[in-house]
């Protein structure tokens, strides 16, 4: 069997992991908060895509135009109402708050949408094409990957070229100094959380056509997002992107050449090795958190 098959499917799946990881990393970088509700925000994105598709008959990829602003606003308000209350508190308080918010979201979804997994079946859900011989590439996964790349590029330019983006980075580098320079750091936190939420929801919507939609589906990805963030360096957007793809490829490769039973073992061995040899993560700044 071709070596290319697991490589390609790993990179494509890794793209979606990366998007989930980038959102979490951004929030950590700017606000220094570990967001344990990230997986549940992804789940909200899945349901938004599902209902846009079933009720409004909008293709899940096109529905991103709606999902991104809705989830940004949701995240922005969530920060304003809840998260900023604990921003100067010890980490355990922040963790408890985000876990609590996540539990409220997932259990509300269980009550509202029941635990029946929903399946979003588009005309291309199980279609694939064969670019090189017998290697098959999933159409929905490729579309998701391309959208992920586009969003990452837009985010990169937003962070490096716009004044809001620069203010976000300044807040991330040194919150107190940024405030002294006249940056409204409270507003930056809300924007960062809004973007983080929008990225999580986008990741959820992108995976919806190839996965199933369930109130607890986000939990699988929460752990992955954490691993990706730490692997790439907490707070590093590029690191999270690369980390996501590494995890996707390692999973696919270890399923192919060892056994899918072992793939989590391999992922966490690499994770531990990075923590031991490069505690700041692959792209993290030395001396950072």
């Amino acid at each position: 069997m071709s070596f290319l098959q697991p490589l390609i499917s790993g990179i494509l799946t890794g793209g979606v992991y990366a998007l989930a990881g980038i959102g979490m990393s951004l929030v950590f970088g700017v606000m220094n908060i570990s967001n344990f509700a990230h997986g549940d925000l992804m789940m909200l994105g899945m349901y938004l895509a599902f209902f846009a598709f079933t009720l409004l008959h909008i293709d899940p990829y096109i529905s991103l135009v709606l999902i991104i602003p809705i989830s940004f606003f949701f995240g922005y308000m969530m920060e304003r109402i809840f998260i900023n209350k604990v921003i100067h508190h010890p980490h355990q308080n922040q963790i408890l708050l985000t876990i609590g918010l996540g539990l409220i979201m997932s259990n509300t979804a269980l009550l509202a949408f029941t635990s029946d997994p929903k399946i979003l079946t588009t005309t291309y859900s199980s279609s694939a094409f064969n670019p090189f011989g017998d290697v098959s590439v999933s159409v929905p996964l490729l579309l998701s990957f391309l959208i992920t790349c586009a969003i990452t590029i837009i985010l990169y330019f937003f962070l490096s070229k716009t004044s809001t983006g620069m203010a976000l980075r300044a807040t991330s580098q040194n919150r107190e100094a940024a405030q002294l320079m006249g940056i409204n750091v409270a507003k930056m936190s809300a924007i960062a959380f809004g973007i983080g939420t929008a990225l999580a929801a986008t990741a959820g919507a992108l995976i919806a056509p190839t996965y199933y939609i369930h109130p607890l589906a986000g939990h699988t990805f929460l752990l992955k997002a954490f691993t990706i963030c730490v692997l790439g360096g907490l707070g590093s957007v590029v690191g999270a992107g690369v980390g996501g793809i590494i995890i996707g490829v390692v999973e696919a490769m270890s399923s192919t050449y060892l056994s899918s039973d072992w793939k989590d073992v391999i992922v966490f061995v690499i994770f531990l090795a990075v923590l031991l040899l490069r505690p700041q993560g692959l792209f993290g700044k030395k001396g950072g958190q």
């Binding site: 697991p6 999933s138 399923s255």
Partner: protein, 381 residues
């Protein structure tokens, strides 16, 4: 004042024996109402609720104490202990999953309260000689046995296994391997996977490269849809997909006609089988819940009916155990008798059915005496 108190006590004393006489029998029901297995759990909840209604209509009263295990063996055991110690039930129906049922079964003899397992398939549950554990459904080895019997006539040569790393998955495949060896099938791939992953393509590509005649799958719920989608995507097309239970037998799976068509699966029950009341149960269930009943619903219905009918006569746990052991029933799951055979104790030797999805509908195709349609072989897209 004192006289009044005495008269109340006297009245209470007089009333009490009558109350005790009329008091309904207390039965526990452990099920996966929340958690990963909640979708199938709902079928069990509905089936059991219908049984209770039918019994009430017949004048049999029961006090049902429901417990949720969330699909977690720890919770299932805690639920069983609570039911027998605090609620003082005389019999328990459940739990649903193999993992939960196996753990609870190991304690049933300690508490001496009969446990009737409605739908868990792991063989071990009734193989340890527990006196208080009864099982209504056929164990996991029958799933693979009946599936292979159904395709035997077409003389397949090779087989690949793809299954969830759960109690049910591992135990079903273990016996399937034995059955395959007996049939002279050569195993060409063996892929165990962790549930709930987004990407099964690497495992399925390995299976495709091995080019088996039969692909034997064990998956719960939505994983079945994911696997079949990705199988179509990478172009895996064996002569037959054999799905052992759970995820391949849900209405939701059948609706995905693009990927589910012609998939063969083993089931404990269908609504077109000629067991007394089966068709009627299917109709009433659909009318009441606006959903197709899965075999789990039928198993839970029948388990609850047998448990309550027997318990309402027996009144005590030891008598209930003796009556379950001695009795025999005939209902929507066919003839039921808890017997000791082939290493099993208190196991109902339930005949399983093989069904195939044809035009988006489950059709019984094997054994011949229960089926109207023939098996379509080989599989084609």
């Amino acid at each position: 004042m004192k006289n009044k108190f005495v008269s109340i006590v006297a009245a209470a004393l007089l009333a009490f024996p009558m109350l005790a006489h009329a008091a309904p029998v207390k039965i526990g029901f452990i099920n996966s109402i929340t958690g990963k297995e909640a979708q199938i759990g709902e079928n069990l909840t509905n089936g059991a609720a219908m049984a209770i209604e039918d019994l009430k209509a017949k004048g049999i009263q029961v006090e049902l104490v429901k417990e949720d295990d969330g699909g977690d063996p720890k919770n299932a055991l805690a639920a069983y202990e609570k039911l027998v110690t605090r609620d003082a039930v005389i019999g328990v129906v459940g739990p649903y999953t193999s993992g939960c049922a196996n753990v609870v079964a190991s304690r049933a003899d300690q508490y001496q309260v009969p446990l009737l397992v409605p739908a868990a398939a792991k063989e071990e549950i009734t193989m340890k000689g527990y006196k208080n554990v009864f099982r209504l459904n056929a164990p996991a080895n029958v799933y693979s046995q009946v599936l292979m019997d159904a395709v035997k006539a077409f003389k397949p040569k090779t087989i690949a296994f793809v299954y969830a790393a759960t109690d049910f998955g591992v135990s079903t495949v273990k016996t399937a391997q034995e059955n395959a060896a007996k049939m002279g099938l050569q195993e060409v791939a063996n892929e165990k996977y962790q549930q709930g992953q987004p990407d099964y393509r690497p495992s399925l590509s390995k299976v495709k490269a091995a080019n088996p005649d039969l692909v034997f799958l064990v998956s719960y719920d939505a994983d079945a849809i994911l696997l079949m989608r990705q199988a179509k995507e990478i172009g895996l097309a064996p002569k037959a997909f054999l799905g052992a239970g759970a995820g391949y037998t849900t209405a939701q799976f059948a609706q995905q006609t693009e990927i589910s068509s012609l998939v063969v699966s083993a089931t404990q029950w269908t609504d077109d089988v000629n067991w007394p009341g089966a068709a009627d149960f299917g109709r009433r269930y659909k009318a009441k819940y606006a959903k197709e009943p899965s075999y789990h619903a039928a198993c839970a219905y029948e388990a609850m009916r047998i448990m309550v009918e027997t318990a309402s006569k027996a009144k005590t746990a030891p008598k209930l155990r003796a009556d379950l052991k001695a009795g025999s029933w005939n209902g929507i799951l066919g003839p039921v008798k808890f017997a000791d055979y082939a290493g099993f104790t208190n196991q109902n030797n339930h005949p399983m059915l093989v069904q195939q999805i044809q035009n988006g509908k489950y059709e019984t195709v094997y054994p011949a005496q229960f089926s109207k349609k023939a098996l379509v072989y080989p599989f084609k897209r």
